[in-house]
Amino acid sequence: MKVPGTGLAKGLAVTLNTMGRRAVTQQYPDVKPELPPRSRGVIALLEENCTVCMLCARECPDWCIYIDSHKETIPAPPGGRERQRNVLERFDIDFSLCMYCGICIEVCPFDALFWSPEFEYSELDIRDLTHGKDRLGQWMATVPPPPAHDEHGVRPKEIDAAHKAADKAAEAADKAASPGPALDNAAEAAPEVVEP
């Protein structure tokens, strides 16, 4: 049987318990938040790596990356011929349009773009949200080192390929030394070479 008033008492108990617990409030401007790794705050540009391939600007879903460049001729070294090189003039990202999808960073073949967790770059004028290449370059200092590889995750293909090649070489060497128990040795040796 349900005693009348238990619901009321339960309500009081819940609020009293909550009062005893620590508040979940974060004192944000005084205490900076602990952001998870790979937080998407702002996009940083490593100018030296940019080859003006324009992939990022073309892949951007809302076209918020503006790139200008010109070609420069490098004088021919002795015995060689003249070469041309792209020089970046302007690299702007308009963060009032950016939707933080990260496609530009994914698509960049030369690792010139990075996520930075910094998020405090609000402006009073919307035009100031367009960051030039200097401002984007300054964000590079805030880019965290890439997080360590998850030991239970799928290994990078390069490492697997290297292991495969090494195993094959070892097997071949074993076969050459003693034709008898070569297979057993290889089977035992294989699980040990997991991580470099």
């Binding site: 309500g11 909550t18 009062m19 508040a23 979940v24």
Partner: protein, 322 residues
């Protein structure tokens, strides 16, 4: 001359209590409510855990423009906050906090106190009528309905304790009070407290100011200092209700150790009990959702009135028998 000085001194002390205790309760409400909702409440004003939040609020209210709607009944509109606030000040004069500390001892104290407390609701009625706003009017009418419904159990519960003590004097009731009355008069105490909460229009009985449906009820059109006075009246009402419940049902200045009656410890007992009750008031506000208008009326007429009548009958039987 010295008699006059004493009267003035008492009144000044009552006024000081009237101006500080509601602020303490208000601040406690900010912090307790915050922590009960897993927040921290105000943290900046004053530097240490937002202790000056209500002072800052007061300054803000004082700076605001005092607007009277064009269609409003000006005189009534302007008078309403005073009518809401002053009764609680008057009631505080008659409440004894210790044998010596009382603004003015009255022979029919309980009668006076309940009569004057009823006036407080008149303030929100006047505000509701004078604002010339449909939401204000609905809020005012709900206030009136609530007052009608809850004044009866409020009075019956008070009558029960007066009958038990055999006196109408508040100090006399505390003197006659005995610890076992805590159990004997428990239903009366609960009825008195709940009905008092409803008269103050505190959540969960805040249908007259239900902000999700009628904006802020009778106080919709108020701004600035007049609005602040209504808020102050609410917190003064909490102090008065808790002090009254303490005096009538919890033995006022009498603690478990009757020997330590120097006056000051008695005062501390009264204050401690009052603030414990004020905490309960805040607690109820956080824990319970608002009662619908029909639930509100049903609780009064089908719950509290029969309970209060039963308590009255029980008190009568016990008083006659012993």
């Amino acid at each position: 001359m010295s008699e006059l000085l004493e009267v003035v001194l008492r009144l000044v002390l009552v006024l000081a209590a009237f101006l500080t205790l509601p602020l303490l309760v208000g601040q406690a409400e900010h912090k307790v409510m915050g922590h009960m909702q897993s927040r921290v409440g105000p943290m900046y004003a004053g530097g240490f855990h937002g202790w000056a939040q209500l002072v800052a609020d007061g300054v803000k209210f004082a700076q605001k423009e005092d607007i009277v709607p064009a269609a409003a009944d000006r005189a009534v509109f302007k008078l309403a906050p005073a009518v809401a606030l002053i009764p609680y000040l008057v009631v505080l004069v008659a409440i004894p906090v210790s044998p010596d500390w009382v603004g003015q001892e009255l022979d029919a104290g309980i009668f006076f106190v309940i009569a004057v407390m009823g006036i407080g609701v008149l303030g929100s009625l006047m505000a509701g009528w004078a604002s010339a706003n449909k939401y204000s009017l609905i809020g005012g009418l709900r206030s009136a309905a609530q007052l009608l419904a809850y004044e009866l159990p409020f009075l019956l519960a008070a009558a029960s304790i007066a009958m038990a003590a055999g006196t109408l004097s508040l100090s006399g009731i505390v003197v006659a009070w005995e610890p076992w009355w805590l159990i004997w008069q428990l239903p009366g105490a609960v009825v008195f407290f709940v009905a008092g909460l409803a008269e103050l229009q505190r959540p969960p009985f805040d249908m007259p100011v239900a902000d999700s449906e009628i904006i802020f009820g009778a106080y919709t059109e108020y701004t600035g200092l007049r609005f602040a006075l209504f808020l102050l009246a609410e917190y003064a009402g909490i102090v008065v209700l808790c002090a009254l419940t303490t005096v009538l049902f919890l033995g006022g200045w009498r603690g478990p150790f009757d020997d330590a009656l120097f006056g000051i410890p008695g005062l501390l007992w009264t204050l401690a009990k009052t603030f414990a009750l004020a905490f309960v008031v805040i607690w109820l506000r956080v824990a319970y959702p608002r009662l619908r208008e029909d639930q509100l009326q049903r609780l009064a007429w089908q719950g509290l009135v029969p309970l209060a009548l039963g308590q009255l009958a029980l008190t009568g039987v016990v008083v006659v028998a012993t």
